[in-house]
Amino acid sequence: MLQVRNASVFFPARDGRTVHALDRASLDIDAGSIVVALGASGCGKSTLLNAIAGFLPLSEGAITLDGQPVEKPGADRGVVFQKDTLLPWKTVAENVALGLKFAGLPARRRRERAEELLGLVGLEDFADATPHELSGGMRQRVGIARALATDPKILLMDEPFGALDSLTREQMQELLIDVWARTGKRIFFITHSIEEALFLGTTVVVMSPRPGRITARFDLDFVRRFAADRDVRAVLSDPRFAELHDEIRNIVHRPSHEGRRGGQREGWLQ
């Protein structure tokens, strides 16, 4: 289990002030769950993910993965970035197998595993292409395959589909659910989109900015239902889905948030 306990992060800002980016966030990510963090821009979602990934030390609090404190990045936590971070000098298969190379696996085994993972994300025909020959959605899929290659205990995804068009985005969401259903990986997923959060999360935590904190939490079963019958319409037309959508929307747009005026409400909701 991944546990985040009272995690706070203060960043130094200009002229000696501090930014309180994360305020006493607590979170559990159990086996088989997809925890989605949802919130407006600047509410500390990436900060939380970076701390879990080990890129960022906490000012206060603790993070443990299966009882081990998290201090540094490591292959037990696979990360999928918003911006693609594939190496342009390596082929798609080599990129996918990068973590296996670091682990010292022989070339043949790496290749086999890379092909298997590329099959999982539907890119078996592109093993020998270079990343710049792929579209944005394809690169993001390679990124997911790469993060899965080292068989991490948890997958951390920072708005991985944020830059994709809605059609590709839906395909990618379904792909992610497939991967999750097949591998049983825990996933921590960040998004701006309420719909995406509701569709993907077994748990959705809503965050609010300044200071960034977790303000609400919902346990859902839409994703399990979708994984079982693959019926998107049944999920989207469920009255519960629309209700939750409104409820979350109201939390996110609660007027107590600084700088929020009537006219700006829809701003970040696309």
């Binding site: 970035f81 190496l87 342009p88 000098w89 990068l98 670091f102 290659a149 080292t150």
Partner: protein
């Protein structure tokens, strides 16, 4: 009824050889400039020919292309100042290549270290920033006093001139490394050495090769200064020696030979770049 998807014999068959297209590059990209460059070269040659033909400039200052060509053949056959043309070229090439190898093998590791390590940066910054803007001719006398008039002082002078651009670009290569790329590798379990080997070095490679290309160019432009030091061989020596006798045509031959070799090196570096970093500018 309109059936837009109907297979229709008015649909043009796809051309046998379809037109291949690519993204519009920014700036020059891969646009072919060779024909323009060749035309410019031919025009300059023509101007030179005309200027000499109509005596617009006294022959002592500007020999005609034919004279220079004749002189070139004469030197190639009989040599100049006690050495054949090839011996002069070989002496210069030996100095340049030796200095380039030494400069690269010192400057690349040191530049990378300066990009990665506070101490390396702190210690090396001062001497490098101090010496590298100096013209090599300014510290030439020191080279002679310290190292004598043999090959050593010449090679050290060239090495110093080439070192700085290579070192600075290796540093710049490390500094331009995006942090996400580092974090991605760390979260895939890279050790520090693997991070360096698999991420830092290849990411800095394009910059390093650019530095190498600039360094070798600087080497050629320092060659004449280096061969001012009591040389008996070398293209730079040949030029200096000819200037004492106002043998302008020999000077022209020397300049031409240097230009051709410098161009060949630069072209070789470009091929090396295309081979080693084909992804440059694509990410």
């Amino acid at each position: 009824m309109t059936d837009l998807a109907r297979a229709d014999d008015t649909t043009p068959a796809p051309p046998a050889a379809p037109k291949l297209v690519q993204l519009h590059p920014f700036g020059l990209g891969g646009a072919r400039t060779a024909p323009i460059s060749l035309a410019t070269g031919a025009a300059l040659l023509g101007l030179w020919f005309l200027a000499a033909q109509y005596r617009l400039v006294p022959p002592l200052f500007l020999p005609s292309p034919q004279e220079v060509a004749t002189q070139f053949l004469a030197i190639a056959e009989d040599g100049y100042a006690g050495a054949t043309l090839w011996e002069h070229v070989a002496a210069s090439l030996f100095r340049i290549v030796t200095a380039a190898v030494i400069a690269a093998s010192l400057a690349i590791p040191l530049g990378l270290a300066m990009g990665l390590n506070r101490w390396a940066k702190g210690v090396l910054d001062t001497p490098i920033e101090f010496y590298w803007p100096l013209p090599p001719l300014a510290y030439l006398p020191l080279m002679i006093i310290w190292l004598g008039i043999g090959e050593l002082s010449k090679i050290v002078l060239l090495t110093l001139a080439m070192f700085a651009p290579i070192c600075l670009s290796a540093q710049a290569g490390v500094r331009a490394l995006p942090i996400e790329r580092v974090n991605a590798a760390l979260s895939l379990g890279a050790t520090r050495w693997q991070l360096f080997r698999a991420i830092v070095l290849p990411s800095a490679l394009p910059e390093i090769l650019t530095g190498l290309r600039i360094g070798i160019g600087v080497g050629w432009s320092t060659l004449v200064a280096a061969e001012l030091i009591a040389a008996t061989r070398g293209i730079g020596f040949m030029i200096m020696s000819a200037s004492h006798f106002l043998a302008t045509d020999v000077v022209f031959v020397g300049i031409g030979v240097i230009a051709v070799w410098a161009f060949a090196f630069s072209y070789g570096m470009r091929l090396l770049e295309a081979w080693l970093v084909p992804w440059k500018g694509k990410s």
